[in-house]
Structure formats: structure tokens, C-alpha cells
């Protein structure tokens, strides 16, 4: 349902000498996501997971390559158009709004202000309480609270393709299990093609397929069990790459 064809993304930056330099962040990704499946994307910090997710949502412009969604080329479509086609992205660092409440955001996502509908969505989401509704989505929310709200807006959108960027950061241990179940339930009941970016074993385990992204490329695709040794190794490597410049890190 979603095809990424030789996807590249580069940014132009000024270096210390004031020279324009081009840095490639996504370095050629080819992958086909199948309808109704549950994918986990993982990999070291700075590997390109968020950048890739934002390319799919249209937040980052594609430098070269193509994105095909349900048979249509959406490479040049706006964020708004992609959202209307049924793509949704839950931000790793959700925006905070002065003067907007959770109810306001949820109403936009659900397309209605109707109180009963909103309460029903909340009940379905399960991880945030009704009292949340009138909270301002402002600077006073805790890190975990804002992540729950972000996730709830994606559930309320009921998209065809849902991308959750590290939904578990800041979430307490008691909520991660229910969160995994919620996303699984969405996948099963609504046929939502689900992509979860995460470092959390619970999400990786729940996925039908696991995609390891490192250095702007897909380094590995597979099931949880078979990928486990690689992931453990990878964790080790990503630390090394921070400390020692990444030279020790390569996959045999």
C-alpha cells in the first residue's frame, strides 16, 4: 500500500567557512509496506527514522525517488493532501499550543465537536482520561501526557496508514503494554497499516516485520527473533559510534 522507491533526502547547510554543503540524510531507501501489516522501525539515534517518517507524511520534501501510496504517486503532494488520503504521523516531539485544549485537537482529528463521539474515542484510546479533555496542550503538560495526547489524535483520525514516532518516550511502564495492545487492536479492527518507530522491545516484538535503519539506509529487515542478536549488537554499536566515530559499526 506504500512503496518507497530509491528515496533520497539531502539538506543544504552552511559549514564553518560559510560554504554551502549538501548532507545526505536518507541515502536510497526501497521498501514496500503491505496493507494492514504492523511494522516496527528501529535503529541507532540519528539513523534517519524520523526523517524517513517525515518524508512519508510530506513534512520533508523528497530530494529524489518516489513515494507511491495505494497506487498513486504522492511524491509531490502537500501534507494536507496526504493527510486527506489517510496518512497520519504522530510526532516524536509533539507541538505544544497556547490556548488549545486536548478537546480542540481531538475535535479536529475526529472531524466533530460532538462530546459523545469524543468521549467514545477516549474510551477506545484507553490511555488518557476524560479529565484530560480540558487540559491545555501547552507547556505545562508533562512529557508523557503530551505523547498520549499525540497518540490519541492519530487514533481519532482513523487513518489508513499510521506512523507513530517513538510513542513510548516518557510513557510509564504501566501504560506501554496497553499502548501496544491499542495499536494492535487498531491494526486488527480497522486494518490500519501501522508503522511504529521505537527502541522498545515490546513494540519490536509486536511487529510483523522489523526494519533496522542506520546511516540513512535500511540495514536489515526481518522478524523479531531473528533480528534480536543484531539489535543487541546494534545497541552496542550505536554507543560506540557516538564515542568512537562509528568506525566499529558495520554489519557482516
Amino acid at each position: 500500500m506504500l512503496e518507497l522507491k530509491d528515496l533520497h533526502f539531502s539538506i543544504e547547510e552552511e559549514d564553518e567557512q560559510g560554504q554551502q554543503v549538501v548532507t545526505e540524510i536518507i541515502k536510497g531507501i526501497d521498501f514496500t509496506f503491505e496493507k494492514g501489516k504492523f511494522y516496527a522501525i528501529t535503529g541507532p539515534n540519528g539513523g534517519g527514522k524520523t526523517t524517513l517518517s517525515k518524508l512519508i507524511m510530506g513534512i520533508n520534501p523528497v530530494t529524489s525517488g518516489k513515494i507511491i501510496f495505494e497506487g498513486k504517486d504522492i511524491t509531490d503532494l502537500s501534507i494536507t493532501d496526504r493527510a486527506k488520503m489517510g496518512i497520519a504521523y504522530g510526532f516524536q516531539h509533539p507541538a505544544r499550543f497556547k490556548g488549545m485544549t486536548f478537546r480542540d485537537l481531538l475535535a479536529i482529528a475526529a472531524g466533530t465537536n460532538d462530546k459523545e463521539t469524543l468521549v467514545r474515542i477516549l474510551a477506545r484510546v484507553g490511555i488518557c482520561t476524560i479529565e484530560f479533555l480540558d487540559k491545555e496542550v501547552g507547556s505545562k503538560l508533562s512529557g508523557g501526557e503530551i505523547k498520549k495526547i499525540e497518540l490519541a489524535t492519530i487514533i481519532a483520525l482513523n487513518p489508513k496508514l499510521a506512523i507513530f514516532d517513538e510513542p513510548d518516550t516518557g510513557i510509564d511502564l504501566w501504560t506501554i503494554g496497553p499502548m501496544v495492545e491499542l495499536l494492535k487492536k487498531q491494526q486488527e479492527e480497522h486494518g490500519t497499516t501501522t508503522i511504529v518507530v521505537s527502541h522498545n522491545e515490546k513494540f519490536l516484538e509486536a511487529a510483523d516485520e522489523l526494519i533496522l535503519i542506520r546511516g540513512g539506509k535500511i540495514a536489515h529487515v526481518g522478524g523479531f527473533e531473528e533480528s534480536l542478536p543484531l539489535l543487541k549488537d546494534d545497541e552496542f554499536c550505536s554507543w560506540k559510534s557516538i564515542c568512537e566515530g562509528g568506525t566499529l559499526c558495520s554489519i557482516q
Binding site: T80, A83, P94
Partner: protein
């Protein structure tokens, strides 16, 4: 008695569909149009004959007063002096506001000095909206001055709003707080085109355990300009907070100067001030939920000024 323009203005500034319930005083083009008093709320024209005095009896609760001013006469600059005496232990809502309809190229304006004497343990909520409209090109000016005196334990909440059409506004808010009293002022101003708005605030925390909060939200569109000055002066053990936020769009300009003065070692004063464009992450979030860019901008501003 009310024509269509009057009704439109009353709706905009006082949320009134018709003549309100309870006490009211409607002033049109510098003259009294209608007045109603109740057993607890008296309204009289002042001695100088240039405004009204509103006396609220001690212990009056759950009552409201509407005192809208509407203008639709070219070349008129209407100035009023209104005084509110709010009796001990009462709890009331006062809805004021000024609507200007400008039909010609002649200027129209209104200046109002509103003085509030809020008695011991009394509570007042004051809602004031300013709005100007009409096909005319005449300059529309609004210059309100608000002076508030809070006695021991008094509470005042003031919502001051100017959401469009006013070419020039010079606002002054002054307050003196007695012991244990508390004041919340929230000011919301949106300007566009070549409009100018200035707000000067001086709040003196005079009594022990008094508290004041001043929240200002500005949206500055087109080539408009808004300046915001605020001083919190603490003369006792007290708490005060200033918060000024401005969203600048197009070529709008803004100057925000918050000042804190402490004359007492146990005063606690804080401020936050921010000027900037609409945050990109907010726009991205709303667009990724299916809104267009323009819809997202409107939604964010609506929330910000709510």
C-alpha cells in the same frame, strides 16, 4: 429604538441580541439611549454630566450590568467618565464595550475612563470588548483608561478584548491592590493593516498577600504595530506575574517591555515575554491532521486569542 447597525454593534461588543436583562445603560453617539436600574444596582449620571456612576449595594450577588457604548455618527469624539462602586461582599459581572460603525471618511472615536472601587471581599468580573466596522474610511480611535482600586480581599477579573477594525488604540490600565486582594487582567488584541495599538499597564501591589496576574496576547497582522508596556510594582509581601505573548504575521511590528519593581524583600515577581511567528511545529501538526495552511493559521490564532 435600536436600528440594525446598533444591533450589530451591541452583538459584537456585549453579546446582546436585544435589550439586556438586569441593570444597563446604553449610550449612543454621546447620549443616553436607555437605562434600567435594579433594587441593588443604581446607575446615575454624574455631576459633571459626562458619564455615569454605578453603585452596587453591598452583598449583591449574581447580578450583571451592561454598559455598552455605540457610535455611528461621523466626526464625533465621545469621552466618558464612569465610576463603579462595588459594595462589600458582592459578586457581579459588568459588561462594557464600545462599538464604532464608521460610514464616512470622517473620524470617529471614543475615550472612556473607568474607575472601579471594589469593596472588601467583593468580586467583580469585567468584560470589555472593542470593535469597529463600517464601509467608511474615517479613522476609528479608541482610548480606554481603566483604574482599579481593590480593598482587602477583593477580587477583580478583567477581560479586555479588541479584535478588529480599530485604527488606533491607546489603552491605559492602572491598579492598586489592597491586602489579600487579587487581580487578573487578560488582554487580547488583534491588529491588521496600518492599525496601531498601545497598552500601558501599571499595577501596584500595595497590600500584604495581594496577587496580580497580567496576561497579554497579541496578534499583529499586515503592517500593524502593537506596543505593550507593563510594570508590576511590589510594596508588600505579594505575588505578581506578567505574561506577554505576541504572534507577528506579515510585516507587523511589536515592542514589549515588561518591568518588575520590588520594594519589599518578600515580594515574588515573575514575567514571561515572547514575540515570534506562528510556531512551525503547530502548523505542521494541524496540516498533518488534514487542515490547509490557512485553516491551520486561523485555528492557531483562534486558540491563542480564546
Amino acid at each position: 429604538m435600536l436600528d440594525t447597525i446598533d444591533k450589530e454593534l451591541l452583538k459584537a461588543v456585549a453579546d446582546l441580541e436585544s435589550i439586556p436583562k438586569g441593570a444597563y445603560n446604553i449610550r449612543k453617539n454621546g447620549k443616553l439611549l436607555a437605562r434600567e436600574v435594579t433594587a441593588n444596582i443604581d446607575i446615575v449620571t454624574n455631576e459633571e454630566n459626562n458619564g455615569i456612576e454605578i453603585h452596587i449595594k453591598p452583598g449583591t450577588v449574581n447580578e450583571s450590568v451592561h454598559i455598552p457604548v455605540i457610535l455611528s455618527q461621523a466626526d464625533l469624539y465621545d469621552v466618558v467618565y464612569n465610576k463603579f462602586v462595588i459594595g462589600e461582599g458582592s459578586d457581579v459581572v459588568i459588561v462594557a464595550g464600545c462599538g464604532i460603525h464608521c460610514g464616512t471618511d470622517k473620524p470617529e472615536g471614543h475615550a472612556g475612563v473607568h474607575e472601579f472601587f471594589v469593596g472588601k471581599n467583593a468580586r467583580v468580573r469585567y468584560v470589555e470588548k472593542h470593535y469597529a466596522t463600517g464601509p467608511g474610511t474615517g479613522k476609528r480611535t479608541l482610548s480606554p483608561t481603566t483604574r482599579v482600586f481593590l480593598e482587602e480581599g477583593a477580587v477583580a477579573e478583567m477581560e479586555l478584548t479588541q479584535l478588529g477594525g480599530v485604527d488606533q488604540a491607546m489603552r491605559v490600565n492602572e491598579a492598586t491592590l489592597g491586602p489579600g486582594s487579587s487581580l487578573i487582567i487578560s488582554e487580547k488584541v488583534m491588529t491588521d493593516g496600518d492599525q496601531k495599538a498601545e497598552s500601558k499597564n501599571i499595577i501596584v501591589l500595595d497590600g500584604t498577600d495581594s496577587s496580580a496576574e497580567l496576561i497579554s496576547r497579541s496578534v499583529i497582522k499586515g503592517n500593524s504595530r502593537q506596543n505593550f508596556y507593563a510594570t508590576l510594582e511590589a510594596r508588600a509581601k505579594c505575588y505578581g506575574h506578567l505574561e506577554c505573548d505576541a504572534i507577528v504575521m506579515d510585516n507587523g511590528t511589536n515592542e514589549t517591555v515588561p518591568a518588575l519593581k520590588s520594594l519589599h524583600p518578600e515580594a515574588e515577581l515573575t514575567h514571561e515575554a515572547a514575540i515570534g511567528k506562528i510556531a512551525n511545529d503547530q502548523l505542521l501538526k494541524l496540516m498533518s491532521m488534514g487542515m490547509t495552511y490557512d485553516e491551520a493559521v486561523n485555528k492557531i490564532i483562534q486558540g491563542f486569542l480564546k
